[in-house]
């Protein structure tokens, strides 16, 4: 079985006592407890500002257990990318100095052909790293 593990550590001093949360999950195929995700796409791209792009070229099999990671590696904190899924604005990932820019890690439904993950850069050319872990995709015939 292929094994993909995603771990997070979250700390904050916004509360009266420091908060620290750690979690780890093994990414399984939908509805199974013994078979891990076994396919992936991984990329590092420059996104010029002003145009919306689908970050995933092929649509993974719908309604499965795909996981999507995206990080903004731009070093300018005023640069950001907007994330849109099926015409629904989700949020923004800002850049940051010393590679402290925002990242996200979400389960990605891809429930229909319109549910591609769309990103639009603002401020300038944003440097984006992304990885999609999934269990099947429909390739586009050449």
């Amino acid at each position: 079985m292929a094994t993909t593990t995603a771990a997070v550590t979250l700390t904050s001093d916004l509360l009266s006592d420091n908060m620290s949360v750690s979690a780890s999950t093994t990414c399984m195929k939908a509805g199974t407890t013994a078979d891990g995700l076994d396919m992936m796409e991984y990329g590092y791209v420059d996104i010029t500002s002003g145009t919306a792009y689908d970050i995933i070229g092929n649509t993974p099999t719908a309604s499965k257990a795909s996981k999507l990671y995206v990080k903004n590696h731009s070093t300018d904190e005023t640069y950001y990318i907007s994330i849109v899924l099926d015409a629904q604005a989700v949020g923004r990932l800002y850049g940051g100095p010393n590679d402290t820019g925002d990242w996200m890690f979400i389960p990605a439904d891809f429930h229909d052909a319109n549910a591609d993950v769309e990103i639009t850069a603002t401020g300038g050319t944003n440097k984006i790293c992304y990885a999609l872990f999934h269990e099947g995709t429909t390739l586009v015939a050449s």
């Binding site: 993909t4 995603a6 509360l15 923004r92 100095p97 820019g101 389960p107």
Partner: protein, 140 residues
């Protein structure tokens, strides 16, 4: 110390893939100033296969600023130490499903915090499941 989040991903799917390790400091939009508000850490027990608002933006005691750098962390922690990876809870924004958190799965997602863009949760079954979550945002 600020608010920071670090992710580490390892995988043996693709030969030569060296994994991912990344950190972010949660800041206010377009600045290096630390983000200033949070809902605090919360849990929500769900026992029906119907949609509920996990976060109702218009009802937050501290009004979040729209379209800034807000983030939410959500994890499906199962129920009473039983974590079932075969069933999950679909997390959505407004009426749009984002994806399903199976038992033990977690997510970190940016948010618009626009009043209409509530965060929803829809369990796959009526079996009790608990979500833990915390939202970070800018005060309006």
């Amino acid at each position: 110390m600020a608010t920071t989040a670090t992710i580490s991903i390892s995988s043996d799917i693709a030969p030569g893939f060296g994994g991912i390790s990344a950190s972010m400091t949660l800041t206010q939009a377009g600045t290096i100033t630390d983000i200033d508000s949070t809902t605090g850490f919360q849990i929500r027990k769900l026992s029906a296969a119907s949609v509920v608002d996990l976060v109702t933006m218009a009802n937050e005691l501290v009004e979040p600023e729209d379209s800034q750098a807000a983030k939410i962390y959500i994890r499906n922690i199962g129920y009473k130490d039983v974590i079932d990876k075969s069933v999950g809870v679909t997390i959505g924004v407004k009426s749009e499903p984002i994806g399903k958190l199976y038992g033990g799965d977690w997510m970190m997602m940016p948010l618009t915090c626009i009043d209409a863009d509530d965060i929803t949760a829809t369990p796959e079954t009526a079996d009790t499941v608990v979500l833990e979550y915390v939202m970070f945002f800018e005060e309006a």
